[in-house]
Amino acid sequence: MAIGTIIGQAIGMMFGIFMMYYTFLNYKRKQFTGNEFVFWTALWIVFITIALFPGILNPLLPLTGALRALDLLTIVGFAFLIFSVFYNYTLTRRNQRQLEAIVSNLAISKRKK
């Protein structure tokens, strides 16, 4: 196995372990519920497994037109990233609107008392 591949896999594995730790930290700080903790931990385990054994994606290659498992991983990664950005955007906008409505209503109702 090429040294570059091993380094890449090591980086992927360390990233996955760090994210698992960060997920655990959020769970202990009660920022995540039990279900959220299980979901994200499972996701990072899948990530680490694919980073260490990219060959498990091989059966999917003919279906997607990707030449290598790494290409498929990159495409899926970008798709996930774009989805995350969009999801965060909608969430932030919703929170912003709700916050504005609360602050505004509070200001008006205090004055009317």
Partner: protein, 222 residues
Amino acid sequence: MAAKKIWAVIPAYNEGRSIKSIIENAQKYVDSVVVVDDGSRDSTKNIAEKAGAMVLSHVINLGKGATLRTGCDFAASKRAKYIIVLDADAQHNPADIPRFTEKLGKYDIVFSYRKRSAQMPFVLRFGNWFISRAMSFLYGIDINDTQSGYRAFSAEAYKKIRWNASDYSMETEMISKAGKQKLKYVQIPIGTIYSDKYKGTTIIDGIKIVLNMVWWKIFNGR
């Protein structure tokens, strides 16, 4: 009790130095002055209350658009007939208020434009020109000064132009909605004093405003 007819709405954020004189001068020309304190860290709220204004307080800073919306919603809920909005930083002279109110019978909205002068910072002059051209191109409305915040409108018109933007984009959103609703508008010149070059619309705000205008055009059909 009869409804107070003309309301001045003043958004304020850390304007303790200038708010008193603005309120006192505005009170000469309107029936009620409402100051919306947008989470100031200075004594803006106390000074405004002592000066005799009705004060609404945002517990956190939300931005000019959200602040003006709170004030205008409040004025509309109190059955105001006409609403005048002006800045709290002494840029706008309250003595100009009668020039706005005399137009309000005939028009739904009175916009103002700042006279071009050497006093006006170059960035502001260029930004204003650029936004005005973009507004004309996208919405077919020719407004001399899209960013001048000294405006007046009827409560009926407010229902049609009520903006969603919480920042400085509200100025352009108001214009685009007025254009779409085909409201009758007029523009009057005003004098302006530039007291603080770090306040008001920045270059970043200008870029956001133009991007928002394109966004509204494409996705909201405004």
